[in-house]
């Protein structure tokens, strides 16, 4: 198991790149960034995923979800201060993206899974800037923090 200092550096490096450009570094890039061996970076990435509500694509070493973001596109399209290129892991995590980009406006656009009609939510720091339509709700059919193997599917 990696030491805490390396876990911190790895988590921070992955998050910084995802926030910056919407994609996660490959473990070979993470290795170069952290100045560690490639195998150590691959193991570190899996270790970090095991500590967070994220996941790799099954059977691979490819990071698919690093909450609140998703590398694999979801229905939750996100723009940050008008720039597109991010996806939220889920509708609820989408509301937590603002904490990673202080002072910037997060706009989440998604179709309703029931009817396909569009929804838009805008947030900036502590403020919910707009909700359209107003009665928008969040819902999960599974307990948050439930079994890891169900995460991509709930």
């Amino acid at each position: 198991m990696a030491d805490l200092e390396l876990l911190d550096r790895g988590y921070s490096a992955i998050m910084a790149e995802v926030v910056d450009c919407g994609r996660a570094p490959h473990f070979t890039e993470l290795a170069a960034d952290l100045d560690i061996e490639i195998d150590a970076a691959r193991e570190l990435m899996h270790e970090l995923v095991g500590m967070t509500p994220g996941w790799v694509h099954p059977g691979t070493d490819l990071l698919a979800s690093f909450p609140p973001f998703n590398m694999q596109p979801t229905q939750y399209h996100v723009t940050i201060d008008g720039q597109s290129g991010w996806y939220a892991q889920c509708g609820l995590e989408a509301t937590a993206m603002r904490w990673l980009v202080p002072g910037k406006t997060i706009r989440i656009e998604a179709p309703c899974l029931c009817c396909g009609e569009s929804m838009v939510l805008e947030m900036c720091d502590e403020e919910i800037v707009s909700v359209d339509p107003e009665p928008m709700v969040g819902y999960t059919s599974a307990e948050i923090g439930g079994a890891a193997d169900s995460r991509p599917f709930r």
Binding site: L100, L121, T140, S141, I144
Partner: protein
């Protein structure tokens, strides 16, 4: 974990489970839950270490207290 145009839309979704009816909340309420320090602190350079501190543990405990549970789990 999804957003819906209204409570009625959530209940009409084919993935809806009545046992988790308590999980239908206005988006503002979910936004408040996802304002817990567990989410706010993700940008700090020592986030993993922080989650293991007393403060991080307290935040996680507080978060868990606000998360809805299935009807069966409460009985």
């Amino acid at each position: 974990m999804n957003l819906f145009r209204s409570e009625e839309h959530a209940k009409r979704w084919n993935g809806y489970d009545a046992a988790m009816v308590a999980a239908i909340k206005p988006v503002a309420e979910w936004a408040e839950i996802f304002s817990n320090p567990f989410f706010r602190q993700r940008g700090r350079p020592d986030y993993i270490s922080w989650t293991r501190t007393e403060e991080g543990g307290a935040a996680f405990k507080e978060l868990r207290s606000h998360l809805p549970r299935p009807v069966e789990a409460d009985s």
